[in-house]
Amino acid sequence: MFGFEILAKLFKILRSGSSPAQIAWGFNFGMIIGLTPLMSLHNLLILILVIVFNVNLSVVFFSIALFSGFAYLLDPLFHNFGYYLLTAPEFLQGFYTAIYNIPLIALSNFNNTVVIGSFISSLLLLTPFFFGVKSFVVVYREKIDPKLEKLKIVKIVKSSKIYGFYEKIRDWRD
C-alpha cells in the first residue's frame, strides 16, 4: 500500500500544477539533504531555501527519502572523495586553513571527509539533475502521461475497488 501510495504521489506530482523548474529544484534540494549528513549547517540553509522559495515540498521529501538510501551505499566513496579533497590538492590547503578559522563556517563541519565528499558530489550532480528532471517533467506531461492514461491497465486500476478505496482515504485525509 505504501509503495502504491508513493507511486501515486509521484504521478500526482508530475501532473500537478507545479512548474517543471519547481519540481526540479525540489528534487535537487532533496538530493543535497539526502546525500549529505542531515545534521549539517548547509542543510539548515537548504531547509530555509526550501521553506522560503516556492519549490515542490512533496518532491523534496520524496527526494530526501530516495537519496538517503543512496547516501548509505555511497558513504565509503564520499569518505574517500572527501579525504582526497581535504588532503590532496596543495593549492586548497591555504583556503581550507583560512575558512577553518572563520566563525560559523567552521561550524559547517566542512573538514569532515563525508560532509565535504557528499556535499561536493551533490553540487556536481546539481546541474545535470536539474536539467534532467526538468526535461523529464516536460516530456512526461506532453507525451508519456496521455499515453499512460489510455493504457488498459491504468483504466482497470482506476476502476478497481482498491483504487476507489485509496481515493476515498486520500480525499478524507486531504
Partner: protein, 614 residues
C-alpha cells in the same frame, strides 16, 4: 516565487528553536558532557546542576562525579561548585577557550549512591606513537597473564603420574622392543650360519686326510715327495679354512657390536621419555623474580596501565592535531574523518589555560594543584602541558605529583614523578595474590615513582616501601594448604616490605622486573618445602617410567645375554678346533719331513757301510 506562508513558518520555527535552546541547552549539554566523559572514563561521569549561558559564554555546575573505573561503587573524585568563562567569539568557530577554571571542593574516593559501571565501548587508539602505548599495555598484561601463578600450587597437588603416562604415550618401550627384535633376528641368522656352515665338514676332511698318511709303511725316499705334496694340499685347505673362519668371526663380531650399540641407546630413550613427561607435567621451578611478579606484578601493572591509558589518550589527541598529512581511516558510516588545519595565527580548537583545584580527601588530606595549558595543539603556545598536584595532612601524609606532556618535539614525551609518603596502610591489602592474603592491621607506606616515555621508549621505576607492618591473622583465615601456611608463618615476623619495579622498553622489546625483600625469604621457604614435594613428584614419575619400560628392557637384555653367550661359545669352540687342526697338519708335515730325513740318513749309512767292507 516566494512562499509567504513559508516565511512566516520559518520565523515561527526559528523562534521555537531559540526557545527550545534556551530551555533545554543545559540538559542537552549536561547529557552530552556526561556521555563523552563516561565514554573516555569507561565508568559513569555525572554532572548535577549544569548551567550554560550561551551569550555570556559562562558554564557552571554544582557537582561533578567521576566514577572509579576499577571500583565502580566509589568515585575517583568529585567536585563541588565550579564555574568558568569561555571566550565568546571562538565559540562561533567551534573553539573552546577557557581562561581560568577553578575547581573547588575536590574530594577523592567518595562513596557513590549507586553503581557507576558502564559497558566498555571505547576502542584503543592504534595509530602512530600512541600504538606503542597500547602495545606496551598489552605486553605488560601478558607478562602477568603468563606468570605461573595459576599452576603454581596445582602443579604439585594435582600431579597424577598415571594420567600423565597415559597421555604421554611412552616411546622407549617400542624402541627397546625393536632392538630386541633386531637382535633376535641377527642371532637367529648367526645361529643358522654357524650350524649350516661347512666348518665341520672341512675339519673332518682335513682330519681324515691327515690320518690317511701312514708314515710307518714308508720305507723308501721315492714315496716321500708324493706325501709332501699331499701334506701341502692339506695345509692349503687348512689355511683356507682359517681365513674363512676369521672372516665369519669378524662379521659375527661386527653384528654383535651393532646390537650392543643399539642396546646402549636404551637409557637415552628412557631419559628422553622422562624429559618429555617433565615438560608435560610443568612442574614449577621457583625463583625470586617470578614470585615477586606473582605477588606485586598485577597491582603494579594495573596502576601503570591506568597511567599509560591517560598517556595514550593525550597522545591520540596530540597526533590528531599535529599531523600534517593525516592517515586515511576507516570510520563508521556517516561519521567520516575530521581533518585538522593548523594556522599558527589562529586560536586552538580547545584550550584550558589554567586549572586550579583544591579540596580534601575522606581522610582529611588537603589537596591542591595546578594544571596549565590543556590544549588541542601545543604549537599554538609553544609550551607543554604541566600538572602539579600536592597533598598533605596533619598525620604526616605528603604527596607531590608532577607531570609534563610535551608534544612539541619530533617525538612525544611524557614525564611523570610521584612522591607519596606517610600514607596509612591500615586495613588494606598489599596484593590480591593468594601468596599474600592477609590484611594489614597497621603500617605506613612510601611510594617513589617516575616515568619517562619518549616516542617508543619507556623508562619507569616504581619504589614502594611498607614500614611498621602488622598483619591480621583472624581465626577465619586458617591456612588451607602448605603455601598459605608458609606465607603466614613468614609474614608474622615481617615488619618491612620493599618493592622495586622497573619497566624498560624500546619498541616491542619490553622488560618488566620486580624485586622485593620478601622474594628471597619466600623462595627459600618454598624451595625447601615445596621443592621436596616436586622432587618426590619427579622421582615418582621416573619410577613409573622405569616400571613401564622395565619389562621391555628385561626382555631385550635376556635375548642379548643368552644368545650372545651361546653364539660366542660356539664360535670359540670352532676357533679352538680349527686351530687344533692347523697344528695337526703342521705336526704331520714335520713328521713327514723328519721321516724323510731319517730315511735319507739311513740310506747314507748303508752306502758308507758298503764302501767300508773289504
Amino acid at each position: 516565487m516566494f512562499r509567504t506562508k513559508g516565511l512566516i513558518g520559518l520565523v515561527i520555527f526559528a523562534a521555537l528553536v531559540i526557545a527550545i535552546l534556551l530551555i533545554f541547552t543545559d540538559k542537552w549539554l549536561e547529557s552530552k558532557i556526561e556521555e563523552i566523559g563516561t565514554d573516555s572514563n569507561e565508568a559513569l561521569v555525572e554532572i548535577d546542576g549544569l548551567d550554560f549561558s550561551i551569550f555570556g559564554a559562562h558554564l557552571k555546575w554544582n557537582r561533578l562525579q567521576v566514577t572509579d573505573s576499577d571500583s565502580t561503587m566509589l568515585n575517583s573524585f568529585e567536585t563541588g561548585k565550579c564555574a568558568f568563562d569561555m571566550e565568546f567569539f571562538p565559540l562561533l568557530s567551534g573553539k573552546v577557550i577557557i581562561e581560568n577554571f577553578q575547581i573547588s571542593g575536590v574530594k577523592t574516593g567518595t562513596k557513590r549512591a549507586y553503581d557507576g559501571a558502564v559497558k566498555k565501548t571505547r576502542q584503543q587508539n592504534t595509530k602512530g606513537e600512541s600504538s606503542f602505548i597500547s602495545g606496551t599495555m598489552d605486553r605488560l598484561n601478558s607478562e602477568i597473564a603468563n606468570l605461573p601463578q595459576y599452576r603454581f600450587a596445582a602443579a604439585v597437588t594435582k600431579f597424577n603420574v598415571d594420567s600423565l603416562i597415559a597421555i604421554l604415550d611412552l616411546r622407549s618401550p617400542k624402541m627397546i622392543d625393536s632392538v630386541r627384535i633386531a637382535a633376535q633376528e641377527k642371532y637367529s641368522y648367526w645361529d643358522k650360519q654357524i650350524s649350516d656352515n661347512s666348518f665341520e665338514n672341512d675339519i673332518r676332511e682335513i682330519e681324515s686326510k691327515v690320518q690317511t698318511i701312514d708314515l710307518n709303511t714308508v720305507k723308501s725316499l721315492d714315496k716321500i715327495p708324493g706325501i709332501l705334496k699331499n701334506i701341502q694340499q692339506i695345509k692349503t685347505q687348512s689355511d683356507s679354512l682359517t681365513r674363512k673362519f676369521e672372516s665369519t668371526r669378524n662379521m659375527f663380531n661386527n653384528d654383535l657390536a651393532f646390537i650392543q650399540s643399539s642396546y646402549s641407546n636404551i637409557d637415552e630413550w628412557i631419559e628422553e621419555d622422562y624429559q618429555r613427561a617433565m615438560s608435560m607435567a610443568k612442574l614449577p621451578e621457583f625463583n625470586a623474580q617470578s614470585l615477586a611478579k606473582i605477588i606485586f606484578g598485577p597491582s603494579i601493572i594495573n596502576k601503570v596501565n591506568t597511567y599509560l591509558g591517560y598517556v595514550e589518550t593525550a597522545r591520540g589527541y596530540s597526533e590528531e592535531f599535529s599531523s600534517t598529512q593525516p592517515k586515511e581511516e576507516k570510520p563508521p558510516r556517516f561519521k567520516g574523518q575530521d581533518i585538522y588545519f593548523y594556522n599558527q595565527y589562529a586560536r586552538p580548537d580547545f584550550w584550558i589555560k589554567n586549572i586550579e583545584l583544591s579540596g580534601e580527601t575522606q581522610k582529611q588530606v588537603k589537596v591542591s594543584g595546578i594544571v596549565k595549558d590543556i590544549i588541542s595543539d601545543q604549537r599554538f603556545i609553544n609550551r607543554p602541558t604541566n600538572v602539579k598536584i600536592e597533598a598533605d595532612s596533619k598525620d604526616g601524609i605528603d604527596m607531590l605529583l608532577t607531570a609534563v606532556f610535551n608534544y612539541l618535539g619530533e617525538k612525544p614525551q611524557e614525564i611523570l614523578t610521584l612522591n607519596y609518603s606517610g600514607f596509612s596502610l591500615n586495613n588494606t591489602k598489599l596484593s590480591d595474590s593468594k601468596f599474600l592474603p592477609n590484611n594489614i592491621r597497621e603500617g605506613v607506606g612510601i611510594i617513589d615513582a617516575n616515568f619517562d616515555i619518549q616516542g617508543s621508549e619507556i623508562i619507569g621505576n616504581i619504589g614502594f616501601k611498607a614500614d611498621n607492618l602488622k598483619f591480621d591473622f583472624d581465626e577465619g583465615m586458617k591456612a588451607e594448604n602448605k603455601f598459605e601456611e608458609i606465607i603466614q608463618e613468614m609474614i608474622t615476623d615481617i615488619r618491612l616490605i620493599t618493592v622495586e619495579a622497573t619497566i624498560r622498553g624500546v619498541g616491542n622489546d619490553l622488560k618488566f622486573t620486580v624485586n622485593s625483600n620478601i622474594d628471597k625469604l619466600l623462595s627459600d621457604k618454598l624451595n625447601s618445602i615445596i621443592g621436596r614435594e616436586i622432587n618426590d613428584a619427579k622421582q615418582k614419575l621416573m619410577s613409573k617410567i622405569n616400571a613401564e619400560v622395565a619389562k621391555y628392557k628385561e626382555a631385550a637384555e635376556k635375548v642379548v645375554r643368552e644368545k650372545e653367550t651361546e653364539l660366542k661359545t660356539k664360535v670359540e669352540k670352532y676357533q679352538t678346533i680349527v686351530q687344533e687342526k692347523v697344528k695337526l697338519v703342521e705336526a704331520k708335515k714335520k713328521e713327514v719331513e723328519d721321516k724323510k730325513k731319517k730315511i735319507e740318513d739311513e740310506a747314507k749309512g748303508n752306502m758308507l757301510n758298503i764302501f767300508k767292507k773289504p
